[in-house]
């Protein structure tokens, strides 16, 4: 069941709300350094910052991409213009976001969630997303021809 991977989409907010997670790297890695001063140990934070860059060229990633392609419904994607997301509301949105978390982001989730915990207000309800995102991908198991464009 491919659907099992699709869970806990975290809000990819388009707004300018400064989440500490995104700005954290600037505060920790940029900024002025004065050599004569000593830096406190950042052990706790280094763990958060362990390089979570996606290793794109790995067997594991290849397989996940292939799987994601296999379950992609090309036709419904084409029929849905981008604005549809806004109009239809969150059932479409959560489906799309849920799926999008597959190969690229799995590793990041845990880190960002631990940082976002305690941030007020803007967390989504994972359980709700999970149930919605699993509903959309059952009826299209049969391989279909793509109308070439």
């Amino acid at each position: 069941m491919t659907v099992m991977q699709q869970q806990q989409a975290r809000p990819s907010s388009g707004g300018g709300s400064s989440s500490l997670y995104d700005v954290l790297e600037l505060i920790l890695d940029k900024g002025l350094v004065i050599d004569a001063f000593v830096r406190v140990s950042l052990v706790g934070i280094e763990i958060l910052k362990i390089d979570v860059r996606v290793v794109v060229a790995s067997v594991d990633t290849y397989l996940r991409f292939a799987e994601a392609c296999n379950r992609l419904d090309l036709e419904s994607g084409r029929k849905a213009p981008t604005q549809l997301t806004d109009i239809v509301g969150d059932s479409v949105e959560s489906g799309a976001k849920g799926k999008s978390k597959g190969a690229l982001t799995g590793a990041v989730e845990a880190f960002s969630e631990s940082l976002q915990r305690g941030r007020d207000g803007d967390e989504e309800e994972p359980a709700e997303r999970k149930s919605r995102s699993s509903s959309s991908s059952t009826a299209r198991r049969s391989p279909r021809r793509k109308e070439g464009e």
Partner: protein, 237 residues
């Protein structure tokens, strides 16, 4: 007494810090140390300073306040000097360099942009545009045990994603750079294919934000562009 250092400013900066909390459990507001021509914003360094969320936020809050009233050289989080004298000495030793940087940053703020893309969105684009990807996708759907095709599909998709992300990143930076004074590349990771900072004149902040909005519009729902700012110019010191 060890001193935690937040920032360097010129001597005229108002330093409205009385209602802020310094780093550490029971600290009052930060204070300043004066060199001959510059000032550093400091507080007593707690003995057991750890990089907790609360401390990072305290550091950031002090910087954001300072930024409201003038140019500021933000220190990287976590720097401690042995004493006030050492801080004053460091200010004087590099006074010219710091003054020049403050001058360059005057009236300017940092904006940090991160861009990600919905995975299905890019997969759909690749399958639409690449006959080979379509062929492999069909082959592996029909025959789930075709491991060779499966790997080939995944590898092709990987390469295409990287190529498209790189091209998108260049386009986005090129679209926004005209409204910025400087650009500093960050390190994109995780769900983002682009992390980049812009140094923007306050007077052009609205124009810059409009360009970002226009870019969002143009890219559509498949992309997530997240803009943070105005921020202290961490990336430009």
């Amino acid at each position: 007494m060890p001193v935690y250092v937040y920032a360097i400013t010129d001597a005229e900066h108002p330093h409205r810090l009385d209602d802020l909390k310094a780093i550490g459990e029971s600290a009052g507001p930060p204070t300043t140390v004066a060199g001959r021509s510059l000032k550093a914003v400091v507080s007593d360094a707690p003995a057991d300073l750890r990089p907790k969320r609360r401390e990072v936020l305290a550091h950031q809050a002090v910087l954001e306040r300072l930024l409201e009233d003038g140019a500021v050289l933000p220190m990287r989080f976590g720097f401690v000097a042995p004493s006030h004298d050492e801080v004053a000495g460091a200010l004087d030793e590099n006074a010219d360099t710091y003054a020049a940087t403050l001058e360059r940053l005057s009236g300017r703020v940092e904006y940090h942009l991160r861009c990600g893309r919905d995975q299905d969105d890019v997969l759909r684009e690749i399958l639409t545009e690449s006959p080979e990807a379509r062929r492999l996708n069909e082959a592996t759907r029909q025959n789930p045990s075709a491991q060779g095709d499966r790997m080939a599909l995944g590898e092709l998709i990987s390469q295409e994603i990287v190529r498209r992300n790189d091209a998108d990143a260049r386009e986005i930076v090129d679209a926004l750079a005209p409204a910025a004074a400087e650009v500093a590349a960050g390190e994109a990771r995780g769900e983002h294919f682009l992390a980049v900072s812009f140094l923007v004149d306050r007077a052009r902040a609205t124009e810059f934000a409009r360009l970002v909005e226009a870019e969002k519009e143009r890219r559509g729902a498949g992309y997530a562009l997240t803009l943070h700012g105005p921020l202290p110019p961490y990336s430009f010191v």
